[in-house]
Each structure stands twice: as C-alpha cells, then as structure tokens.
Symmetry: C2
Subunit: 131 residues, 2 copies
DNA sequence: TCCTTATTGATAAATTTTACTATTAGCAAT
DNA sequence: ATTGCTAATAGTAAAATTTATCAATAAGGA
C-alpha cells in the first residue's frame, strides 16, 4: 500500500538542503554529497529536489542569472541577491505574508499556494569595491 | 562618440515586448517577429532582451518551470502563475513597494535595485476542472 | 525469504541560453 | 553623398541546465 519509499539518497539530500543556509543549486547539493555517497547520480538529486519541492518539504527558488536554488527553511522569508557577486541571503522581518495570499485569492479567484520574492541589488561588500 | 546604436531589430523587439501583455519568453518574441523580419536571429532577441533588462527598459522575470519572461510594463506590480496551465497574469493593487526596498536597504546594507514577486497557485479555470 | 514495484545510476536527449565570427549596417566626419 | 570606424547582426556552435529513458537495484509488505 505504501508508495513513497525511504531511501538513503532521499534522506541525505533532504538533510543536506535543510542543514545548509547557502540555498544550494541541484549541482551544489550533488557536490556536497558525492564524497559521502560516491555512486550518487545527479539525476537522482534533481528528481528528489523537484519532488520535495512539490510536496512542500523544501522551497524551490527561481533566480535570474542562476540555476534554480533550494531552501530547506520553510519559515516565511524573502531573499536578496547581489547582482555583482551572486551572494544570496535571507531577509526575515516579514510581516503577515499569508494575508497577502488570502487577499489575492479573493481578488483574482486563484487558489494561491505560495509566493516567492527576490530582491536584487548590490551587497555591502561589492558597494565597498566602488564602481 | 555614440556607442549604443538604434537598429530595426532593437526597435521591433522593444515595441513587441511593450505592446504585449502576455509576458513573452525570448522565443515567443522571436516567433512574433520572424514574419515581419524573416532574417531575424534568435540570438539577437536574447542579446537585446538581456541588454534592455539591464538598462531597465523592460523587466526580466524568472519563473519556476518556465523559461525567463519579459515584461514591458514598468509600473510596480506582481505576477501570478498557474501551476496547472501555466497562465501568467498581472496583479496590481500594490501599495508602497518602494518603501520595502528602502527598508531592506537600511537593514541589510544592500543597494536594492528592484524586486520581483511571483505568486503560484491554481487559476479559476483550472480549479473549475476539478481535481 | 519472496514478490512487487518504486527508485536508482547511467546515459542520452531536450531545453534554454550564451559564445563565436564573418558580414552588415548605423552614424559621425569628411 | 562618400568614407571609415566599429557596434550589431545572422548563422552557427557550444555551453549550461534540466528532464527522460531504461535496465538493474533495493524498500518494505506479505
């Protein structure tokens, strides 16, 4: 009767994403794990990250000029990306995000599942480097 | 002394994106133009859309499960994407978006240039199709 | 332990985007 | 108009990212 099986690969991938604060790409997750599990396949990483995002276990982030990133932190928060160096940070201090979803649902008829916000700018370090 | 040249290709690409409310991908812009300008190259479309986005003439939208989209409407607004059919709509009713950028800039030291928000959900039409 | 089948590893292929280069064409100066 | 400089283009190849395919493996219920 059980459909979803627990595998060593799934457990490692999920724990890696949840332990990281770097919002890794699929390839970065793969790189972090291939020492610990030499036979691991990149396709397995992609397949599982996608499924976990669909199941709501992790968040999938689509970012300009970057492969998709994954975030194991499910608390409501935003992200800030430096256009110069690619630094990708969290921004908390978020107030009442679910209210926005509810408001938009009422106004548009969409059943809103989630939303993602990315701020783009220049990080303090790159600002210091002038130009 | 002039660097940026005005070409027929640039004018057509920009006017196409600005005239469309469909948030077209690069390939869709190319398809819309290849009748009018048979020799047009897809690479030219990509190159110019990227440059125009960098110059702030248009917005570049990174969306999960979709190639990047482009938006000629520079007024502050959000976007809603249907996870089922891919429908991609505008959402206006946005209050005080620049204040958020300013607040985050103060708190993080980033020089915020812009932000993009995409809401994901199920559109009214797909909700009606049950399941 | 056996059986069913979800999952994996390996690879190929699809998709999306960028890079390269000879040629074309915008435009400033003649 | 004509010339000269070079940004921009068309055409193509290639890079980068992601998904599909499939035989072999292994999870877990009977």
């Amino acid at each position: 009767m059980l459909k979803e099986r627990t595998t060593k690969q799934k457990m490692l991938i999920l724990s890696t994403v949840c332990a990281s604060k770097a919002h890794p790409t699929a390839e970065q997750v793969y790189d972090m794990l291939k020492n610990e599990m030499p036979g691991l396949s990149l396709g397995t990483v992609y397949r599982n990250l996608n499924r976990m995002a669909e199941l709501g276990q992790i968040r999938r982030l689509s970012v300009t000029n970057s492969p998709d990133r994954f975030d194991g932190d499910l608390r409501p928060h935003h992200h800030i990306c430096c256009s110069a160096c690619g630094d990708f940070s969290d921004y908390f201090n978020v107030s009442d995000e679910s209210a926005i979803d509810a408001q938009i649902s009422i106004q548009t008829g969409f059943e809103i599942q989630r939303h993602e916000t990315v701020f783009y700018g220049i990080c303090p370090k790159c600002r210091a480097c002038k130009q």
